[in-house]
């Protein structure tokens, strides 16, 4: 096997860029990915985040070479690998079900890739990789004798040992319990910075994506909705989907009434909401504006008007749930619907009770304006999600998940 794309000797120096150009994937009867462009710089920890059926697993399988793209090109380190077979690509995957070979020991599992490439000293390198995940003492065991967390780490070592230009992680923590997941998130992040490889992490867990990745791409219906550092995605979502999938958002839609050089003012059901010009994707016509629940303050009496704060109300508290650190309120504002407010329990301040009349306020600087349409009508928001191709995609992804779990 003398393919130049595969690192021949030992460990690669560093990760490589990944570039997807106009990737389309059609399955009989539906399209999973439509004209996808994506560039992941070398050495980064990149998360592809989306609900099941968004096409993220298909994207991963295309990059790994386990599926063939209908159209488009895949480049790794500038080299076109679109036509390269899976076993010749400098890419390794940590599978969702780990896919450890049950008939081999842990050491044989980890050395498998090196041996296929006839790398010298495969065993020593495998021990080294197992030390990295702190499992070298179990190298003689069979996978069935390991716990879920240990299997996960072996799977990671088995992939990392090959020093691939690109490491793909397919929901690798999905099968672990919450505590172990948190621990593994930190370890994975640590290993990534130690080995300096490019990590592409596919997940539906927004918290996991935000904790671990340098860059998060939110994917929906085969398209990337928004991409950027986690803080940016959270603080300034561009679309309704990102605003609601990544954390929670309070959204309201209305027509622009004034638009100055710095501020755009939107009339939502008779109340004015201001949004900084640079924080909104649209500047005229119908605009959906929003704010994160923890940015919103509650007032028992109508607060004094302030140019730096948006005020809505009055509304009525319809639900209170106390969770220790914070309290979540549901406030129903006539004509605008339900707003969610997270209040930190920083003082033993006056609590608001079910049925209380309240006003909402938040800093204008925390407001964002979205690129897409009417958020208040659920029909328009979810219509696309339930069309047949979406259902088909979801079926397909579910099947794949089941197959990998089986």
């Amino acid at each position: 096997m003398t393919n130049s794309a595969v690192p021949q000797r030992g460990f690669a120096e560093a990760g490589a860029d990944l570039e997807l150009v106009g990737i389309t994937k059609r399955f009989p009867g539906f399209t999973a990915i439509e004209n996808l462009d994506l560039k992941i710089p070398a050495g980064s920890f990149f998360a592809l985040l989306g609900p099941s059926g968004c096409g993220k697993t298909t994207t991963l399988r295309l990059i790994a070479g386990l599926e063939d793209a209908t159209a488009g090109r895949i480049l790794i380190g500038g080299k076109d690998v679109t036509e390269t077979k899976a076993y010749q690509r400098p890419v390794n995957t940590v599978f969702q079900s780990y896919a450890l070979f049950p008939h081999m020991t842990v050491l044989e599992n980890v050395a498998f890739g090196l041996r296929r490439r006839r790398v010298g000293g495969a065993e020593a390198l495998a021990h080294e990789a197992l030390s990295l995940v702190e499992l070298d003492h179990l190298s003689a065991r069979k996978p069935a004798q390991l716990s879920g967390g240990q299997q996960q780490r072996v799977a990671l070592a088995r992939a990392v040992v090959n020093r691939p230009a690109l490491l793909l992680l397919d929901e690798p923590l999905g099968a672990l319990d919450l505590k172990l997941r948190r621990q593994m998130q930190i370890e994975l992040k640590h290993i990534q910075s130690t080995v300096g490889l490019t990590f592409l992490h596919v997940t539906h867990d927004q918290e996991e994506a935000m904790t671990m990745a340098d860059t998060v791409a939110v994917m929906n219906k085969g398209v990337i909705e928004q991409m950027g550092p986690p803080e940016e995605l959270y603080e300034l979502p561009h679309t309704t989907f990102v605003a609601t999938f990544l954390g929670q958002s309070n959204l309201a839609t209305g027509a622009v009434v004034t638009s100055t050089g710095t501020t755009v003012v939107v009339d939502v059901a008779g109340q004015k909401v201001s949004v900084p010009r640079e924080r909104t994707r649209r500047h005229n016509g119908e605009v959906t504006v929003g704010v994160r629940p923890e940015k919103v303050a509650l007032h028992a009496t109508e607060p004094a008007r302030d140019a730096n704060r948006n005020v809505l109300g009055p509304g009525r508290v319809t639900d209170v749930s106390f969770s220790g650190v914070s309290t979540q309120y549901e406030v129903t504002v006539p004509a605008l619907g339900v707003f969610t407010v997270f209040a930190q329990n920083t003082s033993i301040a006056r609590m608001h009770h079910d049925g209380d009349e309240v006003w909402l306020s938040w800093e204008v600087g925390h407001t964002f304006g979205l690129a897409d349409g009417d958020a208040s009508s659920p029909a328009s928001r979810f219509l696309d999600d339930t069309d047949t191709s979406m259902i088909a995609t979801q079926r397909r992804e579910q099947l794949e998940t089941e197959l990998e779990e089986a």
């Binding site: 099947l399 794949e400 197959l403 089986a406």
Partner: protein, 303 residues
């Protein structure tokens, strides 16, 4: 394994993602051609043979013809043996179920807490497969023989009259068939009971079902695929068996089954058309019975 054949077939869950590839043809063709050549063509040979007529010039030779009345002739001549075959097979299946089901329940459920004991009991059920079934049948024949211990004991107790015999009777043949097929009945039932999640049974009890109704409504339906496999694996070969009913083993001329008649016609009398016609009658009858049974049981996906 053979005994689990029907059971494994019904339960194998398969991934739906199948690919289309010329490799499939390469994998399938040799085996399917083999079966076509040595299963389908022989059936065709049987059909042709069954319609042959005696060669008028050479005695004992047959020439191709279309003598459909061969079927009427063999049915008129051998209907008692045919009826007896299905009767014996049905009785043997029933008795094997009466012995096999509790045994399977015992091994699959009662012994679950003792894995070593369970493994041992399972080995005992499989054990008869490892010793020639002809010798096992001979063993029964000798145990039941007129000078043997069983007859002597029964005569001493005056249960059996002094001049009576067991071998050669319908009882002996059904007994032999039952004995022979107990493992075939027990193992598929065991396979389905072994996988039975005891929480279902507990849930039954939890939902105010009496042990009897839990058994009827929970355990029995879950064991149904195994029972079905077991009855098929017993009934089909039992109906075609001719060893137990043969004179050298447990039977006599009065207990002859259809298998004995086919063997005699083919290998001794060399009346090939009669043997072929009887074979096809037997096969057709079994296929009809099996398909009715499978349809009624609701599991059509046998393989």
């Amino acid at each position: 394994m053979a005994f689990g054949a029907f059971a494994t077939a019904t339960s194998a869950a398969e991934p739906a993602a199948r690919r289309k590839s010329p490799v499939a043809l390469l994998l399938l063709l040799p085996g399917l051609l083999y079966l076509a050549l040595f299963f389908l063509v022989p059936l065709l040979s049987l059909v042709i043979t069954s319609l042959q007529q005696p060669d008028p010039l050479v005695f004992g030779r047959f020439e191709n013809a279309f003598r459909i009345e061969n079927y009427a002739t063999v049915l008129a001549q051998y209907w008692p043996q045919a009826v007896r075959s299905f009767g014996f097979a049905a009785l043997a299946t029933l008795f094997a179920l009466l012995i096999g089901f509790p045994l399977a329940y015992f091994i699959g459920i009662t012994l679950r807490r003792w894995p070593l004991l369970q493994a041992l009991a399972l080995v005992l059920v499989i054990a008869p497969f490892f010793i020639s079934f002809l010798l096992r049948t001979i063993a029964w024949k000798q145990l039941f023989s007129d000078e043997g211990p069983v007859v002597g004991f029964l005569q001493a107790l005056a249960i059996l009259p002094g001049d009576a015999a067991i071998t050669g009777s319908a009882f002996a043949v059904v007994f032999g068939l039952t004995y022979n097929f107990i493992p075939f009945m027990t193992l598929p039932i065991y396979t389905s009971l072994e996988r039975l999640d005891l929480r279902y049974v507990e849930a039954g009890g939890d939902l105010y079902a009496s042990p009897a109704s839990t058994f009827l409504r929970v355990t029995l339906p879950l064991a149904a695929p195994g029972i079905m496999s077991g009855t098929l694996l017993t009934f089909i070969p039992a109906a075609g068996d001719y060893v137990n009913a043969s004179r050298e083993f447990l039977g006599s001329t009065e207990t002859a089954m259809i298998g004995n008649v086919i063997e005699a016609n083919f290998l001794v009398l060399q009346n090939f058309p009669a043997a072929a016609a009887l074979s096809l009658v037997l096969m057709a009858a079994i296929l009809v019975l099996v398909s009715v049974y499978v349809k009624r049981s609701g599991t059509e996906d046998l393989l």
